[in-house]
Symmetry: C3
Subunit: 355 residues, 3 copies
């Protein structure tokens, strides 16, 4: 079905030539063909652009009624008669640019809602948008064109670079962030970590949590996800890392750049991730571990030991993927008593960056 | 102990006859007996109504001092001397109606708090209650008798039917909802999903998330639960589906009617559930799966493959319940080296709709 | 690196003698030495205080350049030349007191922000601090020196003792709490539990949730954690219990004192915990269980049966730790086909109270 313009205003129509330029793709067919929007391959019509990524969708491509399709060179032969194409080595990325042309992200509406509470010494860069009931604390500093959503709370002393978004009902304290950082609704960044010690009488005494949270450029923190500040040193999230909804990051965790932490992942305190580590949904990592760059942690895995660079692990306790598959087959066979299981065989789900 | 009237104002007293009518139950004993409230079976007194559901509670029933008990016909023989009864084929449901008569849900207090921020073109049906600091965006439409709690944020263009509740600190955007929908405190509905693609240089580019969230009639979304909007098509939650606290629903998930997703469940993007699917606490479902109607997914299960209609599955990767029990017994025996385990044998927990 | 004074203002400098008194420790070396702050052992300089806890850090101690170290008697021999020491039987606790002297918790800034909405009959004890846009409902009662953060919502009739903190964007209803209770940002306490019953036609009817949440003295509820009120009786959290971020506590759960529930733990309704039960990250407990005092539940465990006092359990279904280790080794060997696994052997993570 077409994109709902009530929520996503549309621009255009645009010619195939214009789309090709935006997408960094090569137009195949009538470059003057006008397109009116984007839609999924199976429901798109003659005025709409779709995309296909990978060989498994060629059947869907042949059956599609889309007027234009973004695709790789190798899929071109399957393009239906009458459709035009945008050929790209990276179809998903090219399609994203087409979609963004039809539906540009809402412009930052510079201005401060009269109900927002800004400390007298808070500094906002040019062109910031601050929504109803946002609260910005003493000495906080925001760069240019930042968006602060309704009810967002930015604590004293926090610093954000340019083009950041602190969305509705998010709260952040004790934080220094780079550029183009996004905190999604309800994200909690900078609060006290879970640090306390027992007295001999069995009471718990909180250990002062005197660190901060450092967020690199382009970090995104998902809805209702939580990142605790450090105890003495900082909790550090590297450039480009993406954290999904309901993730928990404990105090003094450090990640490299480009890590992907899917929803409901939990990382215990002081664990260090290299670059481009991915953890699939609901995985859990114990504390004080080292996970090497490009390691991939499977969904629901329980990581209790250091992981070398580039290794795939799964299960609890997490073991190398190949070994885990043998163990799963063993258990499956025991369960089905040598007969066929009622479910298709499967392997553990690799973490996907996107659907 | 009696219900605290400071939080739950009480009406009455009510006669057994009145309760029987409210409950759709048959009175047994003096229909004029006055009852003053509800209480659990083990602590109820002569003026209070309890209920018993199922055979395992007959001992508790015999020992109870409750003045009146809602129960099934088959339990009547165990009713203590001096107590009266309300006989029903569905005791829990009948008791719910009795409880609601003593403690009616707070009436909607029609009115808009002066601090609420309503866009000029927002439309509210008759009798809506809008609390302090609620924010309702441009073009949003609410039906009659909706409750919007303190600090709730309803984004531009959202539409809700009649008798909806968007409770304290919840936020919703890009959403079209039916009647009698409830978003519990801190629920996050309609935000961007976790969709991005890597560039050849290793940066992540967000894919525009141009869908919506559609919530059917009587859908409930738990406290701090998250539902992401779709990428192109919508994320769809079918009529009557109940989603517990801290659940994550990824973009483009589709559920049928009457699904039950217990707390901390996670469903990855584009997975489709039929009707009346139940997933017990902390279960996780991979993306792009199909789960047939009336399937039951055990607590902490990791579903990595399609599930046929009506099947019970558990474990990670999830396998049919019967097979999983054999595998668990195998592991338990290895663990206990043939001796008795120190814990009682158990089976995986079936998802309960309620306690 | 030194603690960032923009977020954590510092007092001092303080002499070793003063620190010894604050810490309840014995000074070793020049009692007049001035110290300026705290830092981790590996990065501290001559003006800073660190601590070392346990034998595994003696190498780090010898290499440290810290001016002063809090340590146990047994570590004293490894203290570098030129450093002074604070000797304590409980080094972590003593160091916490030193840290708190340098960085006292922010004083409560008594006063009510003009934008806060207080019901006319809400009662606040002396010296309370109420932040922007906080909402305090009819008949609510707060003790002395309570802190209510920006956008916090305290529902009608709630009662809190002295020195409580209800932090930014938290919401609480139907709750009676003791002294020194903390709700961290986004915590959700007192909302309706997940209680409903199916009608014969397949619709769900909510069961009135007529209980409350009772929080004992010094209870802490983590960021975005959720505690549902009881159905008839109450949900009860015992004195000193600490609940980490994103934890789910179902209706009618009862805990004893001093329990520790690490992040993303889920406890289903009506389960009862004794005193000093610890559950590590992402553990899940089924409903209607009894867990004995001092039981320890491993990370990601799935508890489906009662647990005796003092037992360590892990796995799903949770079994005694010792048995689980044998089963894990069995699976590991199958997976690695008798060869060496590519990962170091590990045992399941015991729940730590702190990092």
């Amino acid at each position: 079905m077409p994109v709902d313009p009530r929520f996503h205003p549309v621009t255009g129509p645009h010619s195939l030539a214009v789309l090709a330029e935006a997408a960094g793709a090569r137009a195949v067919g009538d470059a003057g063909r006008l397109l009116h929007g984007v839609a999924p391959l199976r429901s798109a019509g003659a005025g709409e652009v779709s995309f296909v990524d990978g060989r498994r969708n060629l059947e869907a491509l042949r059956a599609s009624k889309a007027g234009a399709v973004v695709l790789a060179e190798t899929s071109l032969a399957a393009l239906p008669e009458g459709a035009v194409a945008l050929v790209s080595a990276t179809p998903q990325l090219a399609f994203a640019r087409v979609a963004a042309l039809f539906h540009p992200a809402p412009a930052v509406a510079a201005g401060i809602h009269p109900s927002a509470v800004l400390a007298p010494d808070a500094e906002l860069g040019e062109g910031c948008e601050v929504g109803p009931y946002a609260v910005i604390g003493a000495g906080a500093v925001l760069g240019a064109r930042c968006v602060v959503g309704a009810h967002a709370v930015i604590g004293p002393g926090c610093r954000f670079g340019d083009d950041c978004r602190i969305l509705a009902s998010a709260s952040v304290s004790h934080c220094v962030a780079g550029h183009r950082v996004t905190l999604h609704p309800g994200a909690r960044v900078g609060q006290e970590g879970f640090g306390f010690a027992p007295t001999p009488q069995g009471r718990f005494v909180t250990l002062p949590q005197l660190g901060r949270v450092l967020l690199g450029d382009e970090v995104e923190v998902g809805a209702n996800a939580c990142i605790d500040r450090g105890t003495l040193d900082d909790t550090v999230i590297g450039d480009g890392t993406r954290i999904d909804n309901l993730v928990q990051i404990g105090h003094n965790v450090v990640t490299g750049r480009g890590c992907v932490l899917v929803s409901q992942v939990g990382i215990s305190g002081s664990t260090v991730l290299g670059d481009y580590v991915t953890a699939a949904g609901q995985a859990g990592l114990a504390g004080h571990l080292k996970v090497g760059s490009r390691a991939r942690i499977g969904a629901q895995a329980g990581v209790l030991t250091d992981i070398p660079e580039g290794m795939d692990v799964t299960g609890t306790p997490a073991i190398p993927l190949r070994d885990s598959l043998r163990a799963s087959i063993h258990l499956r066979n025991i369960g089905a008593r040598g007969g066929k299981s009622a479910l298709a065989p499967s392997g553990p789900q690799r973490p996907d960056k996107t659907d």
